[in-house]
Symmetry: C2
C-alpha cells in the first residue's frame, strides 16, 4: 500500500461527503484534519470523533503537514482555493477531490498547480438528500461506485493512491474514465436523473399527492430534494453534455409517447423488453 496509517489527510470542505470521508478515514486510524467555513462545523466534527483537528482560516501548519488533501467544495470555490493557497502544500502532496464535474475543473487545476504536488481527480458516486457534517456517514460509500478521472499529467502512483483510498473506504467497483467520458456519463446517470426528478415534482401542485403515490413515484422523486446552488452550478458546468443527454432522453420519451398515441402495443413492448434486459444487469 502506498497509503499508510502515517499519512496525514486533510479534508477541505466538511459537508456530507467531506465529513463522510473524514469519519471513515479517522476510524481507520489516519490522522485527519479539516478546513471548514464555520467553527460550529469544526467543533461538531472534533466532538464526534470525525476529525482530529481543524480550522476555519488558512492554517499553514495544517495544510503544510498533509500528505493527502481531499477537496469537497463547490467547483468554483475549489479553483479559487487552489489559486490562493497552493503555496502552503507540502512538497509531494497528493491532491484529490469529489467534484461532480471534471473537464471544467481538472485541466485548470493541473495547469495552475505547482510542479511538486499532483492533482488526481475522483468522483465517489454516493450521496444522500441531507447535508452537512451532522449527517456524515461513511457507510454511504460501502459498495458504491468510484470513478478515477486521470489525465496525461497523472502518474501511476497517484492513480494507485486514489484507488487505495477508495478501497479503504470500501467502495465497490472502481473505474477509470477520462474527464470527457466522465462528464458524458455523469450527464446521463446523475444529472439527467436529477432533471427528471425535479420535473416530476414540478408537474403537479396537488398537496394530497402523498396519499396516492406508490414506491415507484417515491423512488423517482427522492432526489428532487436538491441543493439548488450546487446543482445549478454542476448543470451549467456540464451544459453541453447534459443538453445532449436531455435531448436524447426527449427523443426516446417522445418515441414511446407516439407508440402509445398510435396504439402500437408491439413497439411499447419492445422498449419494455429492452429496459427489462438492461436493468437486469444491475441486479446480478
Amino acid at each position: 500500500m502506498l497509503v499508510n496509517r502515517k499519512c496525514n489527510i486533510l479534508i477541505v470542505g466538511l459537508g456530507l461527503i467531506g465529513g463522510s470521508y473524514a469519519k471513515g478515514l479517522k476510524k481507520l486510524g489516519f490522522h485527519v484534519s479539516a478546513i471548514a467555513r464555520r467553527q460550529e462545523t469544526i467543533d461538531y466534527a472534533i466532538d464526534n470523533n470525525i476529525i482530529d483537528e481543524g480550522c476555519i482560516d488558512i492554517n499553514e501548519k495544517i495544510i503544510g503537514e498533509a500528505d493527502i488533501v481531499v477537496f469537497a467544495l463547490y467547483p468554483h470555490v475549489f479553483k479559487e482555493w487552489i489559486n490562493a493557497n497552493q503555496r502552503f502544500f507540502k512538497p509531494g502532496a497528493i491532491i484529490t477531490d469529489v467534484t461532480g464535474v471534471k473537464s471544467c475543473v481538472v485541466y485548470d487545476i493541473q495547469d495552475m498547480l505547482r510542479d511538486d504536488v499532483e492533482f488526481i481527480a475522483a468522483h465517489p458516486m454516493a450521496g444522500k438528500e441531507v447535508y452537512g457534517v451532522e449527517n456524515a456517514d461513511e457507510k454511504i460509500f460501502y459498495g458504491a461506485n468510484y470513478i478515477i478521472v486521470p489525465t496525461d499529467k497523472n502518474t501511476d502512483e497517484a492513480i494507485e493512491i486514489c484507488r487505495e483510498i477508495a478501497l479503504l473506504l470500501q467502495f465497490g467497483r472502481i473505474s477509470t474514465l477520462s474527464p470527457a467520458e466522465h462528464d458524458e456519463m455523469i450527464g446521463f446517470v446523475s444529472q439527467l436523473t436529477h432533471c427528471i426528478a425535479i420535473t416530476l415534482m414540478n408537474c403537479s401542485d396537488n398537496e394530497l399527492l402523498v396519499n396516492y403515490v406508490g414506491d415507484s413515484f417515491r423512488d423517482l422523486t427522492r432526489i428532487a430534494r436538491i441543493n439548488e446552488n450546487m446543482w445549478s452550478e454542476l448543470f451549467l458546468l456540464n451544459k453541453e453534455s447534459l443538453l445532449r443527454e436531455m435531448d436524447k432522453f426527449l427523443d426516446e420519451f417522445k418515441s414511446l409517447r407516439d407508440e402509445l398515441a398510435s396504439d402500437d402495443a408491439e413497439g411499447m413492448k419492445e422498449k419494455m423488453r429492452i429496459s427489462t434486459a438492461r436493468r437486469a444487469l444491475f441486479d446480478k
Copy 2:
C-alpha cells in the same frame, strides 16, 4: 367490523398481488381459496400456507361459498371472467379487485353484474419487480397507499368492507377517488414513472453502465424491469390520461432544458426550490 373471520375469501388470479392478499388474509385467520391458471401455482400456495384450497377450473362450490371475491387479473381477462361465470357467485357477495386502471373496467362490470352482488373497485399502490405467487409477501402492503374507487352504484357498506380489508392488510393511507380521478392520478404517479424508467434504460446500450451509476440512477430505473404484456395493456386502457401526463411532463422537462441552454440559473433554481418543498411533504 363488517368483515369477520367467518367470511370466506376467494382470490381469482394468484400472482404477486393476489398471492400477497391471500397470504396476509390467511395469516389473519380467514378461510382463503383461490383460482389460478396452473396447478403448480395452487400446489405451491397450499404447500406454503398461502391458501386453504384452490382450483384451476371453474369450481362452482368454491365460487359459491365466497363472501368476498378479490380479482387480481389482467383487465380484459377480468371482464371476460365476470361475464362467463358470474352466475356462480353467492347472493350478497362483495366483489373487489386490484386492477391498475378503473374507468374502462368499473362501469362495464357494474353494468353486466347481477343485481344481488356488488362490485367495489380498489387499487393497492404496492408492488415489486418480481412476479408470481412464489414472491407473495403481505409486507409489501404495510404502510402503502390504498385507493377505493366507488361509483354512484356502490353502497356505503361495500365501501366500508373495502376499507376494512385495507386496514386488515395494514395499508397506510386509505383514500377515495372517482374512476376518472383515479385514472388521471395513476397516469401521473404510476404510469408516467414507468414510462420514464423504460425510456432511461432505452437511452444507453452501454453494458458497463452498472459500474458508473449511483443510487439515483438505480432508483429511477428499478421499475424498468417490467411485465410488458400487463403494462402495455394498462397504458392503452388509460391512453388519454397517460398521454396528457406525458405531454405535461414533456413541457416541464423542455422548460428546464431551455433554462439550462440559456444559462438561466435562477429559473433552474426556482424549479429546484419547488421540487424540494413539494417532495419534503412526502417525508413528514
